[in-house]
Amino acid sequence: MTTLYTFDVFSTLDGFGSYGPEGDWGGYWGKEGPEFLDRRLALYREPQRLVLGANTIRMFIQSIGPRTGFLRDVDPVNSALRDLPTTVVSTTLEGPLDWPDATVVRGDAIDVVARLKEESGVPLRSHGSLSMNRALMAADLVDRVQVTIFPVVSGRTGARPVFEGAADFDLELIESRTLDGRTQELIYRPTRHG
């Protein structure tokens, strides 16, 4: 019995995980609301381990790293996220990182996560980390895809398509909830198609 691994990602309706320099949408595309923030806080307060790729942890540290991040007042959601035990899979990052409880593991993400799923006593949650999660999905290591769809289309300014380069998957919709009357969270169990 291995532990559950969730690929957790925020997206626009048109499937972008981020936006380029021309887009000044702001955090959560300017669409966060009380239900969404409560939901995220509840998620991050569950016992779990974060698993992040190098780009995502770099981005997190730039904004909410306790010593070096540009955000001085960190909100409860990001604070709870930051306090989670974190495994960073990277061949380039050098520790120590400006992150309270981070372990950098060198090696192939597939090997690292396969081992974590055997050994971790708590569920695993990855946020963003698109290229790592693409590889993990192709290796059948992702048990849940949790997509939060924000109510925008960013055809002009969108960047980083969430599922770019993915294989084909059948999905089983396990949970669906609307937050603040505008943001849709969908949790699927993926199975490779064919």
Partner: protein
């Protein structure tokens, strides 16, 4: 003014179809089909571009040969044949094979702007990615409705819905799950012409 609804079915990764997969990705469920029946095409004027028109015309001809006449797909194409339709095309010629279809050769944006004032029923689109993009960009779309089917088709997906879209703010007006894991999301779209943050808050 009549309302215009843009209607898409889509994979989670934004494709309208995929090579090697059946219609509806083989995932049409009883609740979804019942919902379609509650919103029959014949209550609207159906708008199409030439590519979708040609596809649909081909499907209607296949009823009874390649398509099981008692199947759900054949039923949906019969419904389409009976509905009042407009096809926008500079290449199609009359007579049109599909019944109840009017051919419009002029610019669809101008034509739909007039139709919103003149037609007696609401309008909705069928497929027609290019037409929908033009109508949306022109600010003519009142409702943007997608049903997300539970598949990712990164390898085989075709007809990517959102290619060439502008930035758009969406106000959600409906959200509902159907059995089989289909998810309806319906929005009122507002096209953003400038920097998103300032526009959204305006």
């Amino acid at each position: 003014m009549q309302e215009l609804t843009v209607d898409f079915i889509t994979s989670l990764d934004g494709y309208g179809a995929a090579e090697g997969w059946p219609g509806w990705w083989g995932l049409q469920s009883p609740e979804y089909l019942a919902w379609l029946a509650e919103h029959p095409l014949r209550e609207s004027t159906v708008l199409m571009g030439a590519t979708t028109y040609r596809q649909m015309s081909g499907f209607v001809e296949q009823i009874g040969s390649e398509l099981d006449p008692d199947g759900d797909e054949a039923a949906s194409f019969r419904e389409l044949a009976n509905a009042s339709k407009v096809v926008f095309s500079s290449t199609l010629g009359e007579p049109l094979a599909l019944p109840n279809t009017r051919l419009v050769r002029s610019d669809p944006v101008a034509a739909v702007r007039d139709m919103k004032r003149d037609v007696s029923t609401p309008m909705r689109t069928l497929g027609s990615l290019t037409l929908c993009r033009s109508l949306l960009a022109a600010g003519l779309v009142d409702r943007f409705r997608v049903v997300v089917f539970p598949v990712i088709t990164g390898r085989t997906g075709t007809d990517r819905i959102y290619d060439g879209y502008p930035d758009v703010a969406l106000e959600m007006v409906a959200s509902r799950s159907f059995d089989g894991g289909l998810q309806l999301l319906e929005y009122v779209p507002t096209v953003l012409s400038g920097p998103p943050a300032q526009q959204q808050n305006a």
